[in-house]
Every structure is written in structure tokens, then in C-alpha cells.
């Protein structure tokens, strides 16, 4: 969808909006400030020392403490969590996209007995909340020795991301021309070569869309990590940042805490800025089609 279409086709002569425009604009601005101001406050606080956080809530500091960031990274170990999160997110996304697109491709391209049932089972998973199965899952992981390690966490992440991923990718693979795959078969390629060499490259837009949403889903995931991971050195960012705040009884390095919050938000902000259009469209596309 082009930007034009989103904002209304300029060729049609809709009257500009006119509910006495001034109050309407005022409301838009006020809400934008409500959304943005906490971030501004966060950015201004992340360069203050603990005393200044208390004494000067409004103004940015005149003596920026850039050392809040190295302290957040090292001493309160946000750095470790960051690296852990990058690792877990990258590995999970690789497997989700690989396994998910293989399944979606099979469901979209081949006609076989039980296809409808299988597809419904996969996609229907989106209706089931994580917490319904969380205790049995925990007990199963305990039995399999998959608690408190990344094999367990990543396996679970992949499994729980499959319904959405297959939903998006099946829809996408359906739109791709099958003639290409047929041509590849005639040229003597194996099914996997056809999939990997021919279908995957043209499926890139679909993979990107599924990838973006899985990135946010995994990077921000909290409850499953909370249940599965226990050791501090394995904490992902959400676990790390939550534990900092929930155990703040002891004397707190507030400046560094604000700094770590900034560190957590930066990757999401960057991905959002780059893929804003896809995110906005993708967010609702599924909902509107379904």
C-alpha cells in the first residue's frame, strides 16, 4: 500500500477536515505530548546523578553524566542482558523463519489429506493465551532438563511464534506464482532446492514482515522468560530491567537505572523508525483480513 493510499487519495475531492479545526488540533498536540513527554523526561534523567534526579525533575542537567551509561552497561550488568537478548532473538528468529516458512510453504503449495485440519491447528494457536499451558510447560521442561537454559527458552519461543508466523507466511506463499516452482522441478531441482533457491528469495517481503513482528515479540518477551530462566547471567533484557526495579530496596544508582532503560528502548526505536510503514500496515492487515 502506498503512502498516498494511506493518507487518502489526493485525486478525490474530499473536503478538508473541519470540525472547528483549532480544538481538534489542540487535542492531537496534547495527546502527542502525553506520549512523548515521558520519553523526554527519561532522556533528560539518564544523564543526571542520583541527587539531581531528585532535586531537578524538569530541566535537563547542565553537567551531563555520560558515565551513567558505562555504569549501567557494566556494574548493573545491562550489557550482559543486552548481549543475551541479541543472541536469543537472533537464534530464535533464524529458526522461526526457517521452520515456519517450510511449513507455510507446504501448506500453501501442496494439496494433501488433512491440510485444512493442520492449518487450522497451527493458526488456531493464536487464540490460546500463553498462561493456559504455562504450568504444564514448566513441568515438562523441568523433566526434560530444559529449564534455566537457552535451548529450552529458544525452543519454546520458536514453538509459540509458529501460529502467527505460519499465518502470515501461508497467506504470502499463496500469492506467489506456482509456475516458477513447476519450472524448477522440470529443470530437475529437488523440492528443497526449489524452496530454498527459488521460493525463498521471492518470498522476502513476507519473511521481512514476519521477521519484524517476531523481533518485537521475542525482544520484548517477558512471562515465558520469567518462568524458564532463573540464573542471573542468562537474563534477557526484560528480565534484567524488571529485576533492577523490583529489587531497588538497597541504595539505588538512579542515573544508571534511567540509562539502562534508554539502552533497552534504543533497538526497538531503531527498528520502528526503519520499518514504520510495514509495522503500521502489518499490525492491522492480519486483523482486517481475518
Amino acid at each position: 500500500m502506498s503512502e498516498q493510499k494511506i493518507m487518502g487519495n489526493p485525486k478525490t475531492k474530499t473536503k478538508p477536515f473541519s470540525w472547528s479545526s483549532v480544538p481538534v488540533h489542540a487535542i492531537l498536540v496534547v495527546y502527542a505530548v502525553i506520549v512523548i513527554y515521558p520519553m523526554v523526561w527519561l532522556l533528560s534523567n539518564c544523564l543526571k546523578n542520583s541527587t539531581e534526579v531528585f532535586t531537578n525533575p524538569w530541566m535537563p542537567t547542565l553537567t551531563p553524566h555520560w558515565d551513567n551509561f558505562p555504569r549501567a552497561w557494566n556494574q548493573i550488568s545491562i550489557g550482559t542482558c543486552f548481549v543475551n537478548s541479541v543472541f536469543v532473538t537472533a537464534v530464535t528468529m533464524f529458526f522461526i523463519l526457517l521452520i515456519g516458512s517450510m511449513a507455510a510453504y507446504a501448506l500453501a503449495r501442496f494439496v494433501f489429506k488433512g491440510r485444512e485440519v493442520l492449518q487450522t491447528t497451527f493458526i488456531g494457536g493464536m487464540m490460546f493465551p500463553v498462561f493456559l499451558g504455562i504450568v504444564p510447560l514448566f513441568l515438562m521442561l523441568a523433566k526434560l532438563n530444559l529449564l534455566d537454559n537457552y535451548v529450552g527458552l529458544i525452543t519454546v519461543y520458536v514453538a509459540y511464534s509458529l501460529p502467527f508466523t505460519i499465518f502470515v507466511l501461508t497467506g504470502f506463499f499463496r500469492t506467489l506464482p506456482h509456475e516458477l516452482a513447476e519450472a524448477g522441478m522440470i529443470d530437475g531441482c529437488s523440492q528443497f532446492t526449489v524452496f530454498w533457491r527459488i521460493m525463498m528469495p521471492i518470498a522476502k517481503p513476507g519473511l521481512i514482515a514476519a521477521g519484524i513482528f517476531n523481533f518485537f515479540g521475542i525482544w520484548n518477551e517477558y512471562p515465558l522468560a520469567l518462568v524458564i530462566i532463573n540464573r542471573k547471567e542468562l537474563y534477557t533484557l526484560p528480565l534484567g530491567i524488571a529485576s533492577l526495579v523490583m529489587q531497588q530496596q538497597y541504595e539505588t544508582d538512579w542515573g544508571a537505572l534511567f540509562a539502562s532503560l534508554v539502552i533497552v528502548m534504543i533497538p526497538s526505536l531503531i527498528v520502528y523508525l526503519f520499518f514504520q510503514r510495514q509495522i503500521t500496515e502489518g499490525l492491522t492487515a492480519g486483523a482486517l483480513k481475518g
Binding site: W19, F131, L162, N220, I241, L261
Partner: protein
């Protein structure tokens, strides 16, 4: 013949990894939940004792559970009352030619992509009694007597958490409704305005009926989201002060993972699931209208 076995093998091979992972780690635990909820099962031992529906009876007599459910329902109703009108208003305004509309949309959606944990932490700082943004603002505008220790005060804790949740997700509903409104052909509005309809009339009689299905979808999302709220509450208050922000899932987490009452916790998960299903079905039935085809 050869080709069909080949195809069969391909299908199996392509589906096997996803099918196995999904079957073992997703479908199985969800199915087991209904079974485990019938047991008394404490600690990691294998000693589980079949007790039928006793867990559910215990839940019915558990004051904290009812309190938690009341909080979830408050959460749900408050969210609907605030989100639906606000999101519809913003979506309608942004769908008309407002200067900077795509910028506003980008800003409004932003909280939705941050980790819910980061949002919870940011706002628990903002609510902080001593250095928080909210109290500082109240002092600035001369409302000092309204300053509070928001999250520590039983009267203000739940509203404070709900406000944070709305701040977090309003953008999503704006974008959802916006997409719906934009799919309405502009000729409908032109026809309405030729007939002399005011902005309000065309909103009321063109926009609302044509986005009704998406409105209904929005309501269902709100139900699912508020009945399953966990991370936000857990990080901001851990259900406190003294259960005043306890929700069904924070209580489940506490029971299952702090007190190792696995059977009881699972039963709670089943109840939440069935409750969401029931409310969703009721609301979709209540909101059922003739779909306007266009």
C-alpha cells in the same frame, strides 16, 4: 506414482519440524492444562493426587481470586470506556486531511513497540513519590495537594496501572480503526455531504456502521488483553499493595511459581481461558449487527 510418493515425502519433511515443536511444546501443554487442573500437585515431585473439581471449588471460595477477577473486570471496562471513543476520534481525525497526520500516527503507535517491561519501569519511575514526573507536574500547576505515592497507595494503584496500560496500547487501536475508516470509499462521504450531512452526521451514519466489524474486533482485543494482563502489573506493583492490583494472572504466577501449587495454578489458567472465551462470545453476540456490504 513416483511423483506422488515424492510429494508426500516432501510435505512430511517440510511440516515435520514445525509440527513436532508445535505439538510437543504448544499443543500438549495446553491440552494437559485441562487435565492437570483436576489434581492436587505441589512441588516438583510426581505425587499428584486426583481431586476432581476440588481446585475449582477452592477457587470459588478464594477471596483473593475474586478480588483479582474484579480488578481484571475493572481493567476491562475502564479500558473500553476510554480506548474506544478516543481511538475512534483520533482515527477519524487522522483519516481526514489533517496536516501532519502520518507523523501523529507514528508518534501515537510508538509506545506499542517498546517492551511492556520497559513501559512498566518507565511509568513506575514517573509515578515515584519523590522524583516522579506526575507529582512534579502536579506541583508545577499548583495542585500539590493531589500529589500521591501512586503505586503504593491502595486507592490509586489500580487506576495508575490502568492509565499506563491505556497509554501503552491506545496507538494500536487508533491504527486499527484508522485502517478500517480508510477502507471506506470516499464517495460515501461525498454522497453524505451532498445530502447536506454535517461532519457529525456523516461520522455517525457513514463511518460507524461501516467500521462496526472492526470496532467489534477492537472490543474483543481489549477483552483478551485486559483479562490476560500480567507483565505490566507484575513489574509495577507485583499485585500490591496487599493485593490491591492483583490480577488473575499475577495470582496464577504467585500460586504456581512462588508457592509451587501447580494444580491450583493450572486450574486458575483454565478459568481465565474459559472466562475470556465466554465474555468474548457474549460481547460479539451483543454487538452483532447486519454487516453493511459495500
Amino acid at each position: 506414482m513416483k511423483r506422488s510418493t515424492n510429494t508426500k515425502l516432501t510435505v512430511v519433511g517440510f511440516l515435520a519440524p514445525a509440527g513436532l515443536l508445535y505439538g510437543i511444546f504448544f499443543v500438549l501443554p495446553m491440552a494437559q492444562a485441562f487435565y492437570y487442573s483436576l489434581f492436587r500437585w505441589r512441588g516438583l515431585s510426581q505425587n499428584k493426587e486426583f481431586i476432581g473439581l476440588q481446585n475449582f471449588r477452592d477457587l470459588a471460595n478464594d477471596g483473593i481470586f475474586w478480588m483479582a477477577m474484579k480488578h481484571n473486570l475493572t481493567f476491562m471496562v475502564a479500558s473500553m470506556l476510554v480506548i474506544i471513543p478516543l481511538a475512534l476520534f483520533f482515527a477519524y481525525v487522522l483519516s481526514r486531511k489533517v496536516p501532519g497526520a502520518s507523523g501523529y500516527r507514528a508518534v501515537f503507535l510508538f509506545p506499542n513497540v517498546i517492551s511492556i517491561v520497559a513501559v512498566a519501569v518507565l511509568w513506575s519511575f514517573a509515578y515515584n513519590m519523590r522524583f516522579g514526573l506526575i507529582n512534579a507536574f502536579l506541583k508545577l500547576v499548583g495542585l500539590e495537594r493531589y500529589t500521591a505515592g501512586w503505586l503504593g497507595d491502595p486507592h490509586t494503584a489500580l487506576p495508575a496501572v490502568i492509565a499506563t496500560s491505556i497509554w501503552y496500547c491506545l496507538g494500536f487501536y487508533i491504527v486499527l480503526f484508522l485502517a478500517g475508516i480508510q477502507s471506506i470509499p470516499t464517495s460515501f462521504y461525498e454522497a453524505a455531504s451532498l445530502d447536506g450531512a454535517t461532519q457529525w452526521q456523516s461520522f455517525r451514519h457513514v463511518t460507524i456502521p461501516l467500521v462496526w466489524e472492526i470496532l467489534r474486533l477492537g472490543v474483543v482485543y481489549i477483552i483478551i488483553q485486559t483479562m490476560n494482563v500480567f507483565g505490566l502489573v507484575w513489574v509495577m506493583t507485583e499485585g500490591g499493595p496487599s493485593n490491591h492490583t492483583e490480577t488473575m494472572l499475577t495470582y496464577l504466577y504467585r500460586k504456581a511459581f512462588a508457592e509451587s501449587q501447580y494444580g491450583y495454578g493450572t486450574a486458575l489458567g483454565v478459568v481465565v481461558f474459559l472466562l475470556v472465551l465466554t465474555i468474548t462470545m457474549l460481547i460479539t453476540r451483543i454487538m452483532k449487527r447486519e454487516v453493511v456490504e459495500y
